[in-house]
Every structure is written in C-alpha cells, then in structure tokens.
Amino acid sequence: MTPDLLRLTDVTIEFGSPKKPIRVVEGVSFSIGRGESVGLVGESGSGKSVTSLAIMRLIGGRVVQGRIEFEGRNLLDLPASALPEIRGRDIAMIFQEPMSSLNPLMTVGDQIGEALLLHGWRDRTKRRERTIEMLRLVGIPNAEGRLGAYPHQFSGGMRQRVMIAMAVACEPKLLIADEPTTALDVTIQAQVLDLMKTVRRELGMAILLISHDLGVIADVCERVVVMYAGRVVEEADIRTILTRPQHPYTRGLLRSVPRRGHEAERLYQIPGSVPPAGSIRQGCPFRDRCELAVSRCAEEMPPMFRFGPSQSAACWVTAAAEGVTQAGAAA
C-alpha cells in the first residue's frame, strides 16, 4: 500500500486561555491517500472547519495533542517560517465565502500571479501565461481580458472559480475545500462541484471537501469522515455510508437529506442540537439526541469499531447488534 499523503492521528485542538481551555476537536484521526477525495461532513460546530484549518496551521487555537503528517512529515513540528513554503504549493485551500475571500484592491490576475510568484515563478511572462491557463481551466470566459479585472466585477460563482484557479495554480498535492459551494446558488453549486472534479482529474491532486451536505460530498468524494461534536464518529467509503451507515448520527444525517419522490413527507430532523464545545466530559457526545442510546453511552465514549474493511464507527449499540467487537479505525 502506498503511504498516505496526509494522516491525522489523535488530533486535539483547544481554544481559549490555557487555564480554561475549550476543547473543540478531540482525538480526530483519519487519512487521505494520494489523489484520493475525502469528504468531511458534520453539522455547524462539529469541528470540521477547525480541523481543516489546523492542517494549514491557520487557526487561532492550539493543537495540544496528536500529529498531522503530510508525506510523513509532522506539520505541527515545523517552525512557522517553514509554513509559507507548504501553503499554496503542497496544500492549498479554498473557503466558503468567495465574496470576501479575494483582496478587493488587487486584480484577479495579480492575485493568481502572486500565488505563483510565492512559489518560484519568477518569470513575469510565464506567470502571465500560467494565470491565463488557470483562468481557462476554471472556465472563466475571455480569460486574457479578465486578468486586469477586480473581484467586485465578478459574480459569486465566478469568484469561487478564481479562488480555485488561485489554489490549484501551483498544482498542490492536496486541495482543502471548506464549504466551497455553501454560499452559492444551487445551479452554480453544481457547476463549481463539476469544476472541482475536472480540476482534480486534470491535475491529479487529492481533495479534502468539507461540507454539512452529504449530497455535495457524495457527488465529489470516494470516502467520507463523519464528525460530531469535535470527534470522528464514522468513516467509510461513500457507497457504504449511503447504503449501510452504522452510526445513529450518520443515519440521522442521511434521513434529513431531501429525496425526490418524497417531497410531500415532512423532512426528518435530528432532535436537539450539537452540544456546546467542551461541554461533553464523559460518554458519547451524541447520546442525548440518539434514539438507540443505552446506559453505557453515558458512561464511556465508544471506540471506533471496525464494521468492515473500509468502515468503522463509534457506537456501542450498533457494534453490539452487528456482533462487532474489534476496535480500530478502518484501513
């Protein structure tokens, strides 16, 4: 087996003062292979964005435990001065808000060009050619003529295309996309997702797609990591997640996706809301909203049980029902 491109092991992140820390992410482990596309799904406040920003080391919080290894190197051990070389070249990121994520005072040509310049593209003419090539790749009409345009002259969808062009200009090995389509119209969403698939195919990079929308993830990703209240609760390939989810939370998420032919029915919603960060001290964080919860759930946090070659989930009840006893993450 080829070594993983990115491997997170037992990552725990705290915010607030060191004396009164608030744990936002706890013991998160998952990995991404070369060229693989992985989805990170969860509600708002589940810690998925914080986790992704931690990979880029762009968070205000502290990673107090664990390892984030990229090509075998622990990113958490690197001095701050070494990060700019990795950001944008090895790992690039696009964000949720295309309207505010571009510098309003710089032309899009300059902003894409800057990404290139920062990673060794000294030659001005080559940089310009590459920028045009990237704008064409992301489907911006009249790419050459748009080099000197400012972000405010683009629509939201077009800006997200510019963001993608900027992120992939240096052909990163991993592209992290944090809710890239959430702020966009549904029709534009589909276009941007298609674009991400195209870009991935053309450039052969891995993608970590963060979304609260399983539909979006199913469209792009091969594998899914489900997060709840700062923990990974289930991990499996996309087919297995959609057909045989094992964690009650994943089942709830699937039931709350609107389906064609069922419009007349009231859409399912998981009762309650995500517990505030740091409020869970003991047991399974989902137990208060869980239909299957038993007394053990309040006492002990379930480990990740191995349900199959590519599936693991952290639930006492479903593990017992399936007769699964072996703990450990999916391969």
């Binding site: 571009l102 510098n103 345009a149 405010h152 992120a167």
Partner: protein, 311 residues
C-alpha cells in the same frame, strides 16, 4: 472615473459659494464700525462717511455681496485698511509658510504615526499596543501651544539646536525653521493616525482575504503590508484629510508660539487690528484651502480603491 472627478469638482462649487456667503454674513454682523476701526476715534463724521463711500459700504447689501463674491473669485481682496498694502500680496507672502508647515507636519505625523500603528496592530494587547494607547492619550490630551512652547524652551532656548523665531531664508534654513513647529503639530497627528492605523489594520487583518493570502503561502510582512495596510489605506485616507485640515487650524496657534510668518499669524493680527479686508481675504483663502483638501481626498480615494475607479 472621469465622471466621478467631474462630479466632485462640480460639488465643490456650491461649497465655495456657501463659504463665501458665510464669510460675508460674519463680517457684516461683527460688532464695531470698520470706519471707526480704520480711522480711529478722532475722525470727523465727514471723514467716516467718505471712508464708507470709498469702501463701498453704503451700497445696498446685495450689491456688496455680489461685488464681494466676484472679487473673491478673482482673488481681488482689496488693500489692507491699516497700511494700504495689497491683501493678495500679504497672503501670497504668508501662505507658503503655512503650506510648508502643514506639509511638514502631515509628513512627520504619517512617518511617526503609521509605523507605530502597524506595530501596535501586529501585537494586539501586548506591550507595543499599550505603548500606542499611552502615546495617543498624551497626544490627544496635550494642547499644541503648550507642547510647542515646551519644545521651544528645550530645543531652541536651552540646547540651541533650532532657531527661536522666524520663517528662514532658503530651502535648508526654512526646513530648519519649520522642524520644531511641524514636530509639535505632528505629535498630535501621529497620535491620531497611529490610533487610526491600529484600528483599521486590526480590522483588515481579520478579514477573509488575509487568510487567503496566508493560505497561498504569503509571509507575514507581505500579508501585513501588501494585503493588510493597502486595504487599511481606505479609512486612513479619510483620516489623513481630516488631520491635514486640523494642521491648518493648528497652524494659527503654532505660528504665534514660534513667531513665524503664516496665514494664521496674519489672520490673528488682522483680527486684533480689525483689518476687515485682510480678515476677509485670509478666511476666504483658508476656506478655499479646506475645499481643495477635501477635493484632493476624494481624488485620493480613486487612486486607492478600484471599486470607485472601475464602475
């Protein structure tokens, strides 16, 4: 963009007219008789009447107003009532000193205030930030005439590094003369600009596009200056305009303290002598100056913000 500039220029016209009207009204409702002020208490009623006739003070008010506006717009302010010298000539002699003081103080204020503000904003709630807060508090609290006198005593009287009064002759000498008064005004400006830079930059550094810049591998100096400070320039431009205006009004007191020529000093002595022609001319030029600075500010926005330029 041309449209924007034309609109701004046209906008300035009513402002200028309004200013002229206000000056005209203010001069008419001022207590005291210009004839008495000019000729003294012992002039005969006939002499006074002749003076009024000559100065056009007997004409109907609307006619006086029209004459005043037309004369002002052609920069014809008449002659000083005290010594008969041409008012425009007096202003032309004094104005460069005030402009020189204004430019020098704004430059010094920017050079001190902006880097200080950047330093504070990049170290929020730490020592540099506290230092900035203390500095701006003092800057706001200390009156300029007091600070000016203090600097004058220490650096001119005691240490003898700078001249005590006057405006100087020749470029270097003039720079030597303008330094202390400019520093006095700059101190207050630096306090204001520093605080403004800190607030604006701190806000900008929290924006999404700053995170984008870091995510594509920009190092901190580039993030702060190219992405941060450039965006913070928008509020800073406004602040710069405001502080230039206060430099003008501040020059009135400072020119007195340092006993240097200038529009402020000219005005103060004209007011003391009730030299209406000089007061009128001085205020009009002052006001035109303010309008010009506002105009320059509007044009500066065009240079800084593409959203105004390209739409």
């Amino acid at each position: 963009m041309t449209r924007y500039i034309v609109v701004r220029l046209l906008d300035a016209i009513p402002t200028v007219l309004l200013v002229l009207t206000l000056v005209f009204i203010a001069m008419r409702i001022l207590p005291g008789d210009p004839a008495v002020a000019a000729l003294g208490d012992f002039a005969t009623p006939e002499q006074r009447e002749a003076f009024r006739e000559k100065m056009g003070l007997n004409a109907p008010l609307w006619q006086q107003y029209l004459t005043f506006v037309v004369n002002s717009l052609t920069l014809d302010f008449g002659a000083s009532m005290m010594n008969g010298r041409d008012v425009l000539g007096l202003i032309a002699y004094n104005l460069p000193y005030t402009i020189e003081l204004t430019i020098a103080s704004v430059l010094l204020g920017v050079l001190i205030g902006v880097p200080f503000g950047v330093w504070a904003a990049t170290n929020p709630n730490r020592a540099p930030d506290s230092a900035m807060r203390g500095f701006s508090l003092i800057g706001y609290a200390v009156p300029d005439f007091y600070l000016g006198a203090l600097l004058l005593i220490v650096f001119s009287l005691n240490l003898g590094w700078f001249p005590i009064n006057g405006g100087g002759e020749g470029f270097l000498d003039r720079m030597h003369h303008v330094f202390l008064p400019a520093l006095t005004l700059a101190f207050i400006k630096a306090a204001f600009l520093g605080r403004l830079t800190r607030t604006a930059l701190l806000e900008v550094l929290g924006r999404d596009y700053i995170r984008t810049a870091r995510a594509k591998g920009a190092r901190e100096p580039r993030v702060i200056y190219r992405h941060g400070l450039r965006n913070a320039l928008l509020p800073l431009t406004t602040g710069l305009g405001l502080t230039t205006l206060t430099a003008l009004s501040g020059s009135v007191a400072i020119e007195l303290v340092f006993n240097r020529p200038g529009l402020g000093k000219l005005l103060i002595s004209a007011i003391a002598e009730r030299d209406y022609a000089v007061i009128q001319g001085g205020i009009v030029v002052f006001a035109l100056f303010v309008v010009a600075i506002n105009l320059a500010m509007d044009l500066a926005y065009v240079l800084v913000d593409p959203r105004i330029r390209v739409s």
